[in-house]
Amino acid sequence: MTMTIKADKKKSAATPEQGIKVPVYQTKELNLWYGEKHALKNIDLDINENEVTAIIGPSGCGKSTYIKTLNRMVELVPSVKTSGEILYRDRNIFSSDYQVEELRTRVGMVFQKPNPFPKSIYDNIAYGPRIHGIKNKKILDEIVEKSLRGAAIWDEVKDRLNENAYSISGGQQQRICIARALAIEPDVILMDEPTSALDPISTLKVEELVQELKEDYSIIIVTHNMQQAARISDKTAFFLNGEVIEFDETDAIFSNPSDKRTEDYISGRFG
């Protein structure tokens, strides 16, 4: 049994014609309520394949809620209600026959605070493949190495794979979490403020990594750091009070925003 190389598979499927962007996610009139609180209002967003889409906005604007809706993690909050639809690869993720486990197997997630499992580094990476039925030790070894290399942390941990993942630094833990997400070769990676708990050097490493990963994955990243959005994303969505104010090429948003509120936010007048 040989492993499929993600990049090859992707190239053939992704760009049948040059220049045409294929959407992975299409959000149509999405509304979300936490109990009585209307947290997302009429969101319409198309997110393209093999791009980095940044979501920015002030605290409480709904950016984290939105990204957690994309893999339905938001449903862990009691009393959440949604309306509208989110199509992932043309299938509505809210439809009753869509298994949430299937969706999350295709859409990986990296959280704000590094949250490795209290297991060895090896077992952290092998967890995903294992629960999805891959038992062969040789294949697991390959996946672990490839994922850790993919997350640019192989050289730092290759001699300590059996140590507890909590024995390494926070920045390294976050890259372990990225490697863990890569291990099941997802289609999309959601990142919810992945560098907010990290020091500047670790942040830089994660940002470089995001740049490399977009070759093979579609990445959606929530960030409160506008410079970060400007540095690493292709497109940027600006959220405010649960609404999308502006969604455009990152260059356009930062150099020539069309909405006054976007301009105020990125020039630091509020938020």
Binding site: R104, T105, F111
Partner: protein, 308 residues
Amino acid sequence: MRTSVQEMIAQSKGKKNKKFMEKMIPVILFLIASVSVLTTIGIVVTLVIETITFFTRVSVADFLFGTTWLPFSNKQELFGIWPLIIGTLKVTLIAVIVAVPIGIASAIYLSEYASETVRRIVKPVLEVLAGVPTIVYGFFALTFVTPLLQSVFPEIKIFNAISPGIVVGIMIIPMIASLSEDAMSSVPKQIREGALAMGSTKFEVAWKITVPAALSGIIASIVLAVSRAIGETMIVSLAGGSTPKFNGDFTDSIQTMTAYIVQVSKGDAGYGTTIYYSIYAVGFTLFIFTMLMNILAGYVSKRFREEY
């Protein structure tokens, strides 16, 4: 004009009374704290002294390696401890078989699946179960569980190891369930979310993430519960019988270490007889067993502690 506050403070500081009290308080508290320590030392010393007296009459080798416990014989008294240990272990084994799966399954349910409302109702109920007096459990074993078992398996005697074993198991379920639930609930939510986001089902999260992460607490709860089962007295006195046997039969009457001590203490033997001293030797053996279990629990919870 009244004197300044600082002056009043200076005046009251000068009072000897207060200084004396400040010095005495730690002394008094120390004496109070010593009560439990001294009691423990007293118990151990008594146990050891009386046990030594016992071993002046019965050889240590006969006690440790003998396989017949026959203290009331007119011809020849035999004090081989093993039948009592076997009796205790039979009951403990059955209790563990009953309590560990039920206790851990309940803990998983309470910490991973139950809604807040269910948890608020079930946990106190479990704790009520832990508060039932053991004599009631003993009665329950003798008058309900044993007849029930006999109606299914007629070969089971009125006194046996299975019935008290099951009931001791029921008694320690709340301990395992409650302590394991505490250990599992303290696993951070973000770790569970990380696993759910990988496409794990709820059960995969519970079984492959939460239980391993809480393993030290779970094992410690089991060890403490086993220690409790070994020391359990009333249930086994009532439903286990009083015939120590060195065999592997669970359906026949047994005697545990604790039940033997009860039997003798109730007045079957006079002060100063070998039988009288034997209860100290048995008690000492029991003490070593439960102490080892407690040390093991401490070791396990340190050794298997998962960092998170």
